[in-house]
Amino acid sequence: MTRILFLALFFSICQFLEAQTNIQLSFNLLHNKKPVKNESLLVSKTGDTLSVEILKCYISLIELKLKTGKIFKEKNSFHLLDFENTSTVNLHLNSGPLGEIDYITFNLGIDSTTNVSGALGGDLDPSKGMYWAWQSGYINFKLQGTSSKCLTRKNQYQFHLGGYLSPYCALRKIKLVFQKESKQNINIAIELDDFFNKIDLSKTNTVMIPCKEAVMLSDLACKIFSIQE
């Protein structure tokens, strides 16, 4: 009996130690290099004040390419980041100990096969508010808030970017290369300034269907990710 207990203890310690070596991936929302807190007022370089009320996006198919050439692929790799809920923006990859990482790739959004697979669960459950009803498909990236520049109702801007069918495919693959030695805790910055400085909110403020504008904004959105080293 004591032998069984000892073995169980041994295995749980092993598991604990292995979990300690897992890669953690943290996404940090920044504006002008400073962390964004909920409903804080921001001023963009073009001078207009704006607030961010919702930022949710799907990160999927995470892969880590090691310096040795090996690739770690996360299984069932679908994550909904919701910056109102900090537990969703820190991802624990079940990687075990890995060597030094050369680069990381992931998708911003959901691939087309998953988009046509019916009702899915977990982060892909349609009740997460990231699924369109009248034109099926996932919203890859949702950014909402207000800006004095938007002459809309309550000065709102609303970007719901998605679409999996050509020619309005909004899925973007992101590749981030490590310049320095990679750490166990990988921090990825999402710099809002890089998004808002490239659009004119007085003209572009409401994009909520798969369309040309959604494709253009998806091209911008995938470039606001970078490794914080």
Partner: protein, 349 residues
């Protein structure tokens, strides 16, 4: 010691038995002889008696709408082929009126996409469209999950269907799919005629109607589903108030302008009014449209470039044939009807 071992095995036996009895009874999906392959992937949503029963309750429960007035069945009535008889446009919450005629629900496992414009890409996610429509149910799946989780009635049904009482959006949608996948119609007089069964004896008029139908209509309304599951512009003039361009609204491709889903003609005797905006009340109006009133446009179906030549006697024969597509056993199947016992218990509590 021996005694202890016997007792241990006895308990293990009971545990094993309880697992056997807990496992929901699965249902076989029947594909009628000679029918095409199904589109729906049953391996991802195994049909079970408890799953179908849960779906049936959800289908008939107005809890799916914001103010608990509208259920799926409000616009999809069994007796008329699971559509809304006498309503040209869908009639939803607070007497609001939509922009399209509710489609008849049947043989859905063979459908690749849904709605008049094909905007919905999978049967499982179809309920989200009426649920979130401001003029139909005006509710969100998030809130439905909250409502279903807050009472004990549904939690026990979910427990039986999915071995877990926690309600999620996924399970809610999968259960509704399981029920609507039971809405299958293949026992009409026409089907019995094809299978050479008793009750399938066609009159000369019906035979002539079928012959004319195969000559003039079946390239789009293809047997045995009586639809080719495609989108076509059938020459209806644009309704200048609704301004509905059909499939174009979804694809934004000008080639899809004014194209709508080709609906099945099964049970058409009861599913009036006809067309995406319910503009025709009678089958004769539909036939008159195809034989004379086609509006020319760039996307008009190639099959309709010339109106279909039909004499008035031929039209009578085609209608006689169309009436053989009525499937009484489907329209009155008690397994598909309102689950009275569940809701009467619910009101008493």
């Amino acid at each position: 010691m021996k005694k202890k071992i016997i007792i241990l095995f006895f308990y293990l036996g009971i545990i094993a038995l309880s697992f056997v009895s807990l496992k929901p009874k699965s249902i076989n999906f029947i594909i009628p002889k000679g029918w095409p392959k199904v589109v729906y992937d049953f391996s991802k949503n195994t049909l079970t008696e408890d799953g179908v029963e849960l779906g049936r309750h959800l289908f008939y429960d107005p809890i799916l709408s914001r103010d608990s007035t509208i259920s799926c069945a409000s616009c999809h009535l069994q007796a008329v082929g699971f559509t809304h008889v006498d309503h040209d446009l869908s009639h939803g919450i607070e007497d609001k009126i939509g922009t399209r005629n509710s489609l008849a629900l049947m043989n859905l496992a063979w459908s690749k996409n849904f709605m008049w414009d094909g905007g919905v890409n999978h049967l499982d996610v179809q309920p989200l469209a009426p649920i979130t429509s401001k003029v139909e149910m005006d509710e969100s799946i998030e809130n439905i999950v909250r409502k279903l989780n807050s009472g004990s009635k549904y939690k026990s049904l979910f427990k039986r269907a999915f071995s877990d009482s926690n309600v999620t959006g996924q399970k809610t949608l999968l259960a509704i799919s399981q029920f609507v996948l039971q809405l299958n119609s293949y026992n009409s007089k026409y089907d019995k005629y094809i299978r050479k069964e008793a009750g399938g004896e066609f009159t000369e008029q019906e035979k002539n109607g079928l012959r004319l139908f195969r000559k003039s209509c079946s390239s789009c309304h293809t047997e045995p589903l009586f639809t080719n599951n495609d989108f076509m512009n059938n020459g209806l003039p644009l309704d200048t108030i609704l301004k509905d361009f059909g499939r174009y609204n979804t694809t934004k491709n000008s080639k899809d302008s004014l194209k709508f889903k080709v609906p099945t003609l099964r049970n058409i005797e009861f599913s009036y009014p006809y067309m995406h905006d319910g503009r025709f009340k009678k089958l004769f109006q539909v036939l008159n449209h195809y034989s004379s009133d086609l509006t020319k446009s760039k996307t008009l179906a190639k099959e309709l470039q010339v109106p279909i030549a039909l004499t008035s006697n031929e039209k009578v024969d085609i209608v006689a044939f169309l009436l053989t597509l009525t499937d009484k056993s489907f329209l009155s199947n008690p397994k598909l009807s309102y689950p009275k016992t569940f809701f009467s218990k619910a009101t008493k509590e």
